[in-house]
């Protein structure tokens, strides 16, 4: 089986299992992104067909939401909170440090494919600012030093 057929099979399985829910499009998009890490452009026709929507409508929904992505992410995605509470505790300096350390800007992936970097507007961890999230793990009171330690640990695990 080629890689692209297995992607299409995954997409189809997600569509089949969720398409009868009311308002099924977001659950389907989440299902695909959970399984593949992104929503491949060539999955749009299948989703459109499964939900009796136009491809434009499906594309419009994918592009509306910041969380959905149409390119594969790095092995791990780092979300840095840019919101006010984190700014009040040095979030901007942390942002700059992270970008310098990884050598990438927001919406980019490191050359080795290890990390993608995305901004986030609040992780609800405002009592422990500044905050970042890597995968589902949330980190509070993050400093430049603790960020480096976290990243080194993640690299060793990888």
């Amino acid at each position: 089986m080629t890689e692209s057929t297995s992607i299409q099979d995954t997409v189809q399985a997600v569509i089949t299992s969720l398409k009868d829910k009311p308002g099924a499009l977001l659950p389907i998009l989440h299902g695909i992104q959970d399984a593949l890490g992104y929503i491949p452009a060539d999955s749009v026709p299948a989703i459109a067909q499964g939900l009796h929507l136009s491809r434009a409508e499906v594309h419009g929904v994918i592009s509306f939401y910041h969380y959905f992505r149409d390119t594969p992410p790095g092995k791990q995605t780092i979300h840095i909170c840019r919101a006010e509470s984190c700014q009040a505790m040095g979030g901007k300096q942390l942002e700059q440090h992270v970008k310098d350390q990884l050598g990438i800007d927001y919406h980019e992936t490191t050359a080795d494919g290890q990390f993608s970097l995305e901004p986030v507007y609040c992780l609800g961890n405002c009592a422990c600012s500044p905050a970042i999230q890597i995968g589902d793990d949330i980190y509070g009171k993050v400093s430049a030093q603790s960020f480096d330690a976290i990243i080194n640990e993640k690299k060793e695990l990888a």
Binding site: A83, A88, V120
Partner: protein
Amino acid sequence: MSISVYVPCDSSAVSLGADRIAAAITQEAQKRNISINLIRNGSRGLFWLEPLVEVLTDTGRIAYGPVQTSDVKALFDADFLHGGQHDLALGAIEELDYLKKQQRLTFARIGITDPISLDDYLANDGYRGLSNALKQSQADIVKAVTDSGLRGRGGAAFPTGIKWNTVLNTASEQKYIICNADEGDSGTFSDRMVMEGDPFVLIEGMTIAGLAVGANQGYIYLRVEYPHAHIALNAAIEKAYAGGYLGNDIQGSGKAFHLEVRLGAGAYICGEETSLMESLEGKRGLVRFKPPLPAISGLFGQPTVVNNVISLASVPIILDKGGDYYRDFGMGRSRGTLPLQLAGNIKHAGLVELAFGLTLRELLYDFGGGSATGRPIKAVQVGGPLGAYLPESQFDTPLDYEAFAANWTVLGHGGVVVFDDTADMAALARYNMEFCAIESCGKCTPCRIGSTRGTEVIDEIINGHEISKNIPLLRDLCNTLLNGSLCALGGMTPYPVLSALNHFPEDFGVTDTTNAA
């Protein structure tokens, strides 16, 4: 008999290492052949003390914190399992001033119980509200909520009972209850704490809402940034179904209520109720025109209650103890309690649930202990990214919807973000405009275009270009946003922007104050 040890599962506690502490305590106990019962409770909301470990002793629960993994061995050596003395010992948790001075109604159980234990919930007054509601008529349930004076805790402060009454009186085969759990405001985390720390109280509140208005389907629209809350809610919903508290026959009443969690996808605008419903229907989160009100034509065109997490989580205690009990807390038209969230540059960041009426200054200094950096507090943003910045001269404002409105400020969802004197208010105002541009749904022109032009104008001002021309331009633009936007995103972005400009003109390079007027 094993000793009960509590280590919070709250994601803020986890963000500071609570999972590692829990593992280290379990391991150390095994090594020493001591039998312990490790419980992952919610957080008490004293976040500067997290990870906060509690031990149940003969004299109640004794707290230790903030605990690091390197402290665990020493804690065992100090016999913390029996309340032994140690540098991190805080004494009886309930006696800590920060907690003792609070009036916890909605947060009554949080930090005390195991969040996903139905037995624990039932043993701590859980489902008493539902049990009362099942004996009452729909109109009486709505009346109890109306009598309580509860107003929408999401920010808009619309009376919950009136909203419910509209849905009750709108005839339809299908009605919905939506919980708006898209808590996207910076500086707010009370919804998250409820969902992670006491998910059953939200489920119970939604079930009561369903009974009251005749809706048999509920959705919790949860932001994707809250993975821990997602897990906790789904675990609790499963147990509620198994225990007969959700499903087709709630506690043998023959009445049905079903509940499902739906995830958002990183769009702040989906916290606006009509945008949220579009998103639930599987569309782009474009704001709808009102009317029709969601209470008459909401999700899939059906009558729909849309309430915030805290509003719904306040319903069980109202049905348990009566509308009067809840109404007796508070001041003026702000009845009951508000879970305030102290965040940003503050020494004692955390959750403070109080009756309305305390002043902001008391909250900042008596509870918060001043700034975390020890520098003077310059400004406080209350009510999220669409809330105004308050300068020191406004710190005596009582925490009350009307008192805040009279100052051209907003209490909103109760988030309080503190900035010390290093804050650059022009840079913050620029961020507020940029945020509006990033998050605008694009439906109305003032918000879609105005936010981008606003960012550009503030950039000009920051760069010192034609300040005397650009300040009036910024004010004019804010006026357009304020009066011409379809929803609160465009309509309220001028609050932080103009309050920053009005109170801190020097940060914008305005030296002659008449220029700023």
